[in-house]
């Protein structure tokens, strides 16, 4: 075998071994075997150095080429393997480290989202002070055109504290308090707890959240009420939500309406609303000849139940962490 053949066969061997390198160890073995001080390349170089210049030329050039090329490759591969060696292997299916993450109550979230929309329409939130849960009969009923013994009191079974003091059955007394304190135009929204004598079941609770908007100005129209509610519905339930208004009755609005949104085959009541009753305006010292307005109210639990697909109102006061975590 000529020296040139030997170099060629060595190259074949080198290339074959190179293909099997998969770790830092096998790379090191490879380096020692071929390119170490006592390696096969060194051996052949020694052999070549003993040959005549003519015989040397081609073989020397070839072996040098192999040496340079592979020393570079080995270095590259070594860095590559070392980089890999520095880190562990990871099982992507191990449960990750625990992060402590809590959550807001879903009703807080719904209130907040609704307030974002309503304040965006120019309503100012009120009720930090002067929106008591324990309220005078006068603000909760009488001023809202519901005198004592009025039959519509039956619509809202009331928790009484004294003859004159009660747990508010609606957020509407905040309307009255606001109108008594401010001069129109008034554009306010309030969210808070209200109370009714209703035992807990899947759809009833003795206390729940309401939100209420009030707008008093010159020439306020039913068309604006409708427009405002439509914006709200689109924001809450999406662009495609279908909305309709139906007749209803509240002693403090005239005309009164119910705002309904369609879900599948069913129309669900979302808003109670209407134009502020002239008697209510008179009760707070505003002339219905000059001022008019609209008011709307909505139940927060109801919105949350529709939005999250919750079928039992008790879940909100039950506070199971597995429930709170989800929403």
């Amino acid at each position: 075998m000529s020296i040139l053949d030997e170099v060629h066969s060595l190259r074949t061997e080198i290339e074959k071994d190179w293909a099997h390198i998969d770790s830092i160890e096998s790379l090191e073995n490879f380096r020692v075997k071929f390119f170490g001080k006592k390696g096969k390349v060194q051996d052949i170089i020694k052999k070549i150095s003993l040959l005549s210049p003519e015989e040397r030329r081609e073989a020397g050039r070839l072996i040098n080429e192999i040496k340079v090329k592979f020393e570079e490759l080995v270095q590259e591969r070594k860095e590559e393997l070392l980089a890999r060696l520095g880190s562990d292997t990871y099982d992507l299916y191990i449960t990750p480290r625990h992060l402590e993450v809590g959550n807001l109550h879903p009703l807080s979230k719904v209130v907040d989202e609704l307030l974002d929309v309503v304040t965006g329409l120019g309503f100012e939130e009120v009720g930090l002070n002067d929106a008591p849960d324990v309220e005078w009969d006068y603000y909760n009923f009488e001023c809202l055109n519901i005198p004592p013994y009025h039959p519509s009191r039956d619509m809202q079974a009331t928790f009484f504290i004294t003859d004159k003091m009660l747990l508010r059955t609606q957020t509407s007394p905040v309307q009255v308090r606001t109108m008594l304190q401010r001069k129109p135009p008034i554009r306010v929204v309030h969210a808070g707890r209200v109370y009714r004598v209703d035992a807990f079941d899947a759809t009833h609770a003795p206390c729940f959240y309401q939100m209420e908007g009030l707008y008093i100005d010159r020439n306020v129209s039913f068309a604006e009420l409708r427009g405002t509610l439509e914006v709200l519905v689109r924001e809450i339930f999406g662009e495609k939500a279908e909305f309709r208004m139906m007749p209803s009755y509240f002693p403090f609005t005239e005309p009164s309406a119910e705002g309904q949104v369609r879900f599948g085959e069913e129309w669900l009541e979302i808003f109670g609303c209407g134009m502020v009753h002239p008697q209510v305006l008179r009760n707070v010292g505003l002339s219905p000849e000059v001022w008019s307005g609209y008011a709307f109210g909505l139940g927060i639990e109801r919105i949350a139940m529709i939005k999250y697909g919750i079928n039992d109102i008790r879940l909100f006061s039950d506070n199971d962490i597995r429930f709170l975590r989800q929403l």
Partner: protein, 787 residues
């Protein structure tokens, strides 16, 4: 108000709507359909008339009879226990598949005989009419046809919710007028023509004219009290009323027709005269429902010369009621003040069909005609001699005249509705109307006393015009700056949720014993007069009870630990003249144990979890909150401390005592914090320059009593090491060998930095050793130092 489709059709000529269309119309009239059902649901196709051809007994058993029933094309065998079966009797037969209430008829074996169907009573087809056993169809009734039409079961029931401002809709005629205003069709008025053959009138004295502006009484003599005919009984059942006897049934039926309650007294039981007066204190009356009730002077009664014979507008007395033995009766039709009737309802705790109508305000114009209607029906169904009516009237009711300006209406609607359209709508409502150039003069009939102002009229117009024909509009509201309240609680909630706490919302109601066990004072309790139950009879004075309940529920359901908070109001009684004090509080609660996972070891939730939450909010508040130890045993807490803000107590925290844990059924340690948010503020956030010189640190291990705090050491450090002491951190707490028992070793890392230079090691060492010396002099045992 319950009403049936066929019944309404008797009062509206050519009602064009199908039963389902009518159901869908009601919401457009502002009437909610609570229930809608087909009466023959489950019976159609499965019920047929038959005749009993042969009747026999099963062997020796006399309770069962075997009937061969021909149902036209074929005969079937029916086994029945009904006592009134006989041969040649025409019966209603239910075949397999028929649904009777919740039961489905099947073929079945009874005592070895195959029964191929049932023979039915009226009750079984949904008509609980008094009759014994199986219902007998008339002798000429054809065999093999459906008896549903004959029984009036091809009908639909609407259970309607009527708003309290519309008492007129609590009568079939009122409902019919409302429907016809919307869809057209003449009202068919019921017959009221009756010959008054006798001049005897009852003596009537109305002593309280305000409460009873109109009272009429009419004597009818020589009547025959008996069971009502099937047709009337059937109608009453559809209307939701139990048939009693023909007289009572007629008064009830007319109430449902006209919305005008009527009462009939047995004249023989009425002593001399009828008086309408207030009840005397302590006066009692045994009512028709069998209960004796005590009256008071707020209640209006109908009385004879001696005793009350009815609570006016609410319920009659048992004694003076019409029974089988009655022959002469006095028919009362009156108009009572609604507030008076409501007062009787509320002090007696009793609502009847009658009081529901009077309490919402009746229609004075219908008093007399309803009496005539009753007389007419009695004459038809009970015979007798009808006498003249005696009417005592102290007030003339004026119809409301309203001016409706088109410009007002258009302004309210936000769009123009043509005057012609408005006028037509008012016509359809059957209100008298006179057109003027810019307005209409509308005369509102007395039955619609809910309409007092033009705004009330606008709703009626809108209903018929269509709520959905109003275009929507959003006005440019640039003059208003909408904004949310800048309250502290919204930010606090987000902060806590971000670090692993869950917001909960518990009810404001509380149990007084529970509140007392956490330090609540009974004099602070706001007490509810009509609570749902004892657990909810006062308003909470603290958030802690609610939080403990939530923690307990979660832990018992297998949630391993609870880190929860609530922001809500607490209430304190301030006397009858003032509303209770309401304060917004933050409550924090941690309990349970963290279970082992690969990345963390098992441990109990402890005080430091609570403090971690507290720390997060404390950092953001101003002025800084401080905690000082305080004995909170009275609140059921140990290891407790008061939270101070500027020296003022704004809250407290501590570990819940074993007794309290037992009360709330919590096994693991629990820690709570409550903070009054009303006076707290968020600190203004300012950027602090990032230090440009390096820090250095020294560790100190110190041995102290197990129960002692490191706080004196920290205070000393702050005094002696300032201004270069930047911060400290506890890096180890160690118990056990070689540390003596009841002692612990705490290792604190002190971090030093100067803002204007790099500190030299010598400078730090000098100060630090001086500090350590100071500690040693004070008797502290130093376990190690590390620079």
């Amino acid at each position: 108000m319950r009403v049936s489709y066929n019944l309404l059709k008797e009062y509206i000529q050519d009602l064009k709507l199908s039963p389902l269309e009518l159901k869908e119309l009601f919401p457009y009239l502002g009437i909610e359909v609570v229930e809608f059902k087909f009466l023959a649901e489950g019976l159609e196709e499965h019920v047929v008339s038959g005749v009993i051809e042969n009747l026999s007994n099963i062997k020796d058993d006399l309770t069962y009879k075997v009937a061969e029933v021909s149902i036209g094309a074929k005969s079937i065998t029916v086994v029945s226990t009904a006592p009134n079966l006989r041969e040649k009797m025409k019966v209603i037969v239910a075949l397999p598949g028929a649904r009777l209430g919740n039961n489905v008829v099947h073929e079945k074996e009874v005592r070895g005989v195959k029964s191929q169907g049932n023979v039915l009573s009226l009750e079984e087809v949904g008509l609980p009419i008094s009759s014994s056993g199986v219902y007998e169809l008339p002798g000429d009734f054809p065999v093999g046809v459906s008896p549903l039409e004959y029984l009036g079961l091809n009908d639909w029931i609407y259970d309607l919710y009527i708003f309290p401002n519309r008492p007129d809709l609590l009568g079939i005629i009122g409902l019919s007028m409302e429907i016809s205003a919307y869809v057209g069709g003449e009202i068919l008025w019921p017959k009221v023509g009756v010959l008054e053959e006798c001049h005897d009138i009852p003596i009537i004295e109305v002593l309280d004219k305000d409460s009873c502006p109109v009272y009429t009484g009419r004597i009818i003599k020589n009547i025959t009290v008996k069971e009502s005919p099937f047709e009337l009984q059937r109608k009453l059942i559809l209307l939701g009323q139990r048939p009693i006897n023909n007289i009572v049934d007629i008064t009830n039926f007319v109430m449902f027709e006209f919305g005008q309650p009527i009462h009939a007294f047995d004249a023989a039981k009425v002593e001399r005269k009828i008086m309408v007066r207030r009840a005397n204190p302590g006066e009692k009356i045994l009512c028709l429902d069998g209960l004796e009730r005590e009256l008071n002077p707020e209640i209006l009664v109908i009385a004879d010369a001696q005793k009350p014979i009815a609570v006016a507008g609410v319920i009659g007395a048992e004694e003076s009621g019409v029974t089988g033995g009655s022959s002469t009766i006095i028919v009362e039709s009156a108009y009572f003040d609604r507030v008076r009737v409501r007062k009787a309802e509320s002090s007696l705790g009793l609502t009847t069909e009658s009081s529901r109508r009077f309490g919402r305000g009746g229609d004075p114009s219908v008093v007399e005609v309803a009496s005539r209607r009753v007389a007419y029906l009695i004459k038809q169904l009970a015979g007798g001699t009808v006498c003249k009516i005696n009417e005592v009237k102290s007030k003339n009711f004026e119809q409301e005249k309203i001016k409706l300006y088109f410009k007002d209406l258009n302004r309210m609607f936000g769009q123009v509705v043509e005057p012609e359209v408005v006028r037509k709508i008012i016509d359809r409502l059957d209100f008298a109307v006179h057109g003027k150039e810019d307005h209409l003069e509308v005369v509102v009939p007395l039955r619609r006393r809910d309409i007092e102002e033009w705004e009330d009229l606008s709703e009626e117009i809108l209903k018929i015009y269509g709520y959905d024909k109003i275009n929507s509009m959003v006005r440019n509201c640039s003059t208003f700056s909408g904004k949310k309240l800048k309250s502290i609680d919204r930010k606090l909630k987000v902060l806590l949720a971000n670090v692993g706490f869950f917001e909960v919302k518990t009810v404001e109601f509380a149990n007084p014993e529970e509140l007392q066990s956490i330090g609540g004072l009974p004099r602070d309790f706001v007490r509810i007069r009509n609570p749902l139950n004892n657990d909810m009879c006062v308003l909470r004075t603290s958030l802690v009870a609610g939080l403990l309940r939530v923690a307990s529920n979660n832990l018992r359901r297998g949630v391993s630990y609870a880190k929860i908070f609530e922001v809500g109001k607490v209430f304190r009684w301030s006397g009858e003249e003032n509303l209770p004090e309401e304060r917004m509080m933050l409550g924090l609660c941690v309990a349970g144990e963290v279970s082992k996972t690969w990345d963390r070891s098992e441990r109990n939730i402890d005080m430091y979890d609570l403090l971690a939450g507290f720390q997060v909010i404390r950092e953001k508040l101003e002025p800084t909150l401080e905690v000082v130890p305080e004995d909170l045993a009275i609140m059921g807490l140990s290891n407790g401390g008061a939270v101070l803000c500027d020296g003022r107590k704004v809250g407290y925290l501590g570990e819940v005592s074993g007794k309290l844990r037992k009360m709330f059924d919590i096994k693991s340690p629990v820690f709570v914090l409550e903070l009054d948010l009303s006076s707290l503020k968020f600190a203004e956030i300012r950027y602090k320059e990032i230090p440009s010189f390096p820090s250095t640190s020294r560790d100190l291990s110190i041995i102290i009593q197990e129960n002692d705090s490191i706080s004196p050491v920290i205070r000393k450090a702050a005094e002696t090491l300032s201004p270069i002491l930047e911060d400290y951190e506890v890096i180890d707490i160690y118990y056990g060998k070689p540390i003596p028992e009841e002692k612990k070793s705490v290792t604190i890392k002190f971090i030093f930095r100067a803002s204007d230079r790099t500190l030299t090691q010598e400078e730090v060492d000098t100060k630090f050793f001086k500090f350590v010396e100071l500690l040693k002099n004070e008797g502290y045992e130093i376990r190690g130092l590390n620079g």
